[in-house]
């Protein structure tokens, strides 16, 4: 899979997104990026957060804790930079639309599902174990039925 963002472009896109959305927390910024770029690219905190930290370091973005969540906003220098970078998101979105969608396999979908579950190393009691096993059995049967129909 090719990288959607060119070198340094994610930071430019973040400045553009903050300019569009105004002061926002990390998840809202990711949502803005996802909405602008489309479904072909799924932003992740692991990529966006370091980029925000780097922008904070360079003084283009200011972060402040607000109700247990960190809210980021453009500084004056950031606004100036964003005005020059206006259109970055649109350019990335155009490129994303032109790129062929990445093929998904059942394995990749299951991996995404497993990694998305919070606290997956937590021990569960017998009752919960049986309930979870029943849910997973049902899901497996449905998936196998669906795949069976497709092939």
């Amino acid at each position: 899979m090719t990288r959607l963002f060119r070198r340094g472009e994610l930071k430019s896109a973040l400045l553009d997104a903050l300019d569009v959305a105004g002061p926002s927390n990390g998840y809202t910024i990711m949502q803005t990026l996802a909405e602008q770029i489309g479904e072909s690219w799924q932003p992740s905190p692991g990529a966006v957060y370091p980029a925000l930290l780097a922008l904070e370091d360079t003084g283009l973005v200011r972060g402040a804790d607000h109700n247990g969540s960190r809210v980021y906003e453009l500084t004056a220098a950031g606004r100036q930079a964003a005005s020059k970078l206006h259109g970055t998101l649109e350019a990335v979105a155009t490129r994303a639309r032109a790129a062929p969608p990445a093929p998904s396999t059942l394995g990749s979908l299951l991996d995404d599902f497993v990694t998305s579950i919070d606290g997956r190393h937590r021990a569960v009691d017998e009752q919960s174990k049986q309930a979870i096993a029943a849910i997973l059995d049902g899901a497996r049967n449905n998936i196998e039925r669906l795949i069976g129909k497709e092939t």
Binding site: N25, G26, Y27, G46, Y49, A54, S69, T115
Partner: protein
């Protein structure tokens, strides 16, 4: 630290664990293959020790892979680790109100 930061740290940690597991799998295949080669060498008369060539040649690749898994990090990971250390230090030594 908010949920977003926690999710980013978790993601970096998962990436690192995966990278290290892939290396350990590589190491296991390296050991199993080369032990088999030594076995073949021993069973076929223990002549010229030709098995050292795959051990050394593949060994270079294995060491490089180990360096990537344990010593090198993505720029994102470096930034996240630095931030994690900064947050831990700030928690241990909170700024005093005067």
């Amino acid at each position: 630290m908010d949920d977003f930061a926690r999710a980013a740290f978790r993601e970096a940690e998962a990436k690192q664990i995966l990278r290290r597991r892939v290396f350990l799998l590589h190491l296991a295949i390296y050991v199993a293959t080369n032990v088999s080669l030594i076995g073949i060498w021993a069973l076929t008369g223990a002549g010229y020790p030709w098995f050292v060539f795959p051990i050394l040649g593949w060994g270079i690749g294995l060491v490089a892979h180990g360096a990537v898994a344990y010593l090198l990090s993505d720029p994102e990971e470096i930034v996240l680790r630095r931030e994690q250390q900064r947050l831990a230090a700030a928690q241990q030594d909170p700024p005093r109100s005067t």
